[in-house]
């Protein structure tokens, strides 16, 4: 399967934070390159590819990759008597992108719905200048009463935006949940590449859960693996108007290689060096705060893990039209595979020496 197809399938799949099993099932069925696939207690999917060639040495370094498979979504908080569904957000959602969107409500059945918008004819002029707050929004699933919905939807059921992937010009594509299914796609592409490369490390590619609500899956999965190196794969803000250039990374220029307190300096240097050696384009991504991705949790697990972060440039993050360049996904996977393949014992051991 080509990376475009994988991205499309992952983007269109449903897996809101806390309920990622659909994506986990898809990955289990579409990752022939792992030697072992297992799920942990919170539902993190761990795909293990052992060192190649198979090695008897007592300690093979462990490299953990983390890309979160959960997406932001909506949760039903109340079913009104007239059959409209009230909701709140799971993860960070800009309420302004919800108006007039089509959704799917994942109840006992998959119900199509619309987030209703008041027609302009009945709006007061002042209303039009204000964003509609989330608590005033509702999902219309076409039923007329709460009773009719009794066997179909419950408080606590989830809803996602109904969005098929859109191919834009060149290598750009847009869809929901590219944050962070793009990172998951990078992991798959990386494992595929490693099938034909030698690497001394055991690779634990983890599709983590619940990143969007507080990097929770990364917290527990890292504890269970205790890797020697942890690399988070997430999306970074792509170039777009109204955002200062120095806060974004351009689409089509390869991954953002993060630097900052959350990134081990040796890992950063090595990733940059490999990108240069193999002519993989990249952008430096400085950050003053360690938060915002699984790297935040990985780094401070147990006695500390040397951590790095690669970002796939993405425009319009946390909207249903997240836009990326799939060549960036390929480039990130290449950089990652090359990094893993070039790891040696000395480098790994040197990470604890400051």
């Amino acid at each position: 399967m080509d990376v475009k197809e994988i991205l499309a399938n992952l983007s269109e799949g449903t897996g809101v934070s806390g309920y990622e099993h659909g994506i986990a099932d898809y990955l289990e069925q579409n990752c022939p390159w792992a030697d072992e696939i297992r799920r942990d207690k919170l539902g993190n999917l761990i795909m293990v590819k052992r060192a190649r060639p198979a090695a008897e040495q007592p300690s093979r370094p462990k490299v953990m990759l983390a890309a979160h498979m959960d997406e932001i979504g909506l949760i039903v908080t109340k079913i009104e008597d007239e059959g409209f569904l009230r909701f709140s957000a799971v993860g960070g959602i800009d309420q302004r992108v919800l108006l007039a969107q089509e959704v799917i409500v994942h109840g006992k059945a998959e119900l199509p719905g619309v987030i209703g918008a008041k027609p302009p004819h009945v709006q007061a002029p002042a209303e039009r200048n204000e964003a509609v707050p989330m608590e005033d929004l509702y999902i219309d699933v076409g039923y007329d009463s709460k009773e009719q919905l009794a066997d179909l939807v419950n408080v606590g059921d989830l809803a996602t935006i109904n969005r098929k992937v859109v191919r834009l010009a060149g290598s750009l594509m847009a869809g929901k949940a590219m944050d962070d299914r793009a990172g998951v796609a990078v992991m798959l592409e990386c494992l595929k590449a490693l099938a034909n490369m030698n690497h001394i490390a055991d690779v634990y590619a983890v599709a983590t859960v619940q990143e969007e609500v507080g990097v929770r899956g990364a917290t527990t999965s890292t504890f269970g693996i205790v890797p020697d190196i942890g690399i988070a794969l997430d999306v970074g803000h792509g170039d777009m108007p109204s955002v200062p250039e120095h806060l974004t990374i351009s689409l089509g220029n390869g991954p953002g290689i993060a630097l900052g307190p959350h990134v081990h300096p040796n890992l950063h240097k090595r990733l940059v060096q490999i990108a240069k050696d193999w002519n993989i384009s990249y952008t430096l991504e400085p950050a003053t705060r360690p938060g915002g991705t699984d790297a935040f949790a990985i780094q401070i697990t147990q006695a500390g893990i040397p951590t790095a972060l690669l970002s796939i440039p993405l425009r319009y993050m946390h909207t249903p039209v997240e836009t990326l360049n799939y060549e960036d996904v390929r480039k990130t996977a290449r950089l990652l595979a090359q990094f893993i393949s070039e790891l040696d014992q000395e480098f790994v051991e040197g990470l604890k020496c400051f």
């Binding site: 120095h246 400085p286 500390g304």
Partner: protein
């Protein structure tokens, strides 16, 4: 002088190298073992003669700084604070950038060219930049890198009859105190942990505590003193010259009341002036240590410092001496009583 060397060294969150190397040099002959971990924490051990209690004392090496985010076509550098810095303290200050300490200034529009209303509004971070004298981007790129940290240039010096001024008192005073404490000998195992990345979320302390597994811990800090004009008395938090501060509660931790009571009792017994930290805002490494594994009793002893997180902070030498004395008296009593 130790405090001078420590405060004039440069080390921000994630880039504590210079401070770590300086401290390593200061302590290597005082302790039995020195190691670093995956985050760069410097963990020292004095084995002692008894098996317990295992005591950990922590002070953080990192200071707040500015990170270079991009280099403009003009050769000017855009930056963001790393750790909490009030943007208003930045304008018209001098800095040094990166490992090579490239000198720079944080410029601003001259008064002659401003409209009167402008002077009332503070400059936001987005309007500030560091000028290192480069006239274009590639010239600047030869001198500094994206991701480099810029530091204040304040020199350490005595000020007034009893005080000193310098940058990074938070928490080089803690590091200095810890080094002074490591000079003595103790019967129990003592772990001196010089932690990293406290200023961006208490990141190093938790991993250090996980590794050390102490039976109890003390955290040595430099804390806010706002005993100055324009602050009503009940918002002073702490007062310079009135002794080291005991935290009763801050945003990250409620220190073990038994430990706090013990410290207060010892202070009174030994005539060491001491005050409670009269504010509940701000967090310290103690928060992470207390919640490590199955829990650790902790207490925080802090030096009151005016103007912390700004280029020039002020503290009292006598407060410093009393703080060290208090910790040593506590450690002696631990030895005598086997616990607290």
């Amino acid at each position: 002088m130790l405090l001078k060397r420590l405060t004039e060294a440069c080390g921000g969150p994630g880039q504590e190298d210079e401070v770590r190397n300086l401290i390593r040099g200061e302590v290597k002959d005082l302790v039995d073992q020195v190691t670093t971990d995956a985050l760069g924490n410097l963990i020292t051990v004095k084995n002692g003669t008894k098996a317990g209690p295992k005591v950990m004392i922590a002070a953080h090496m990192d200071e707040v700084a500015l990170m270079i985010m991009s280099i403009e076509k003009s050769g000017l550098l855009k930056f963001n604070p790393i750790g909490g810095i009030d943007p208003r303290v930045l304008v018209a200050k001098t800095v040094v950038v990166g490992k090579n300490r490239v000198p720079g200034v944080i410029g601003s529009k001259p008064i002659h060219l401003q409209r009167p209303e402008e002077r009332k509004k503070p400059l936001a971070i987005e309007e500030l930049y560091i000028d290192i004298g480069a006239s274009k981007k590639d010239e600047a790129e030869r001198m500094v890198n994206i991701g480099d940290l810029a530091y204040f240039t304040t020199e350490f010096a005595a000020i007034g009859p009893d005080k000193f001024k310098g940058k990074a008192l938070d928490d080089r005073v803690g590091c200095a105190m810890l080094i002074d404490i490591l000079k003595d000998t103790y019967q129990f195992p003592l772990y001196g942990a010089f932690t990293v990345q406290e200023e961006v979320g208490l990141r190093g302390a938790g991993t250090a505590a996980y590794q050390v597994q102490p039976d109890l811990a003390l955290v040595l800090e430099g804390t806010t003193a706002s005993d100055v004009p324009e602050t009503p008395k009940h918002q002073h938090a702490t007062s310079v010259g009135k002794g080291p501060c005991l935290t009763v509660m801050d945003s990250s931790v409620i220190p073990d009341p038994r430990l706090v009571a013990k410290l207060m009792q010892l202070a009174q017994q030994h005539n060491i002036p001491v005050q409670y930290r009269r504010s509940t805002s701000g967090g310290t490494d103690a928060g992470k240590i207390q919640q490590s594994r199955a829990g650790v009793p902790v207490a925080v002893i802090a030096l009151p410092c005016r103007y912390i997180h700004s280029p020039a902070a002020i503290a009292s030498q006598t407060d410093y001496d009393h703080a060290v004395k208090l910790v040593k008296v506590f450690l002696r009593s631990l030895e005598e009583e086997g616990g607290f």
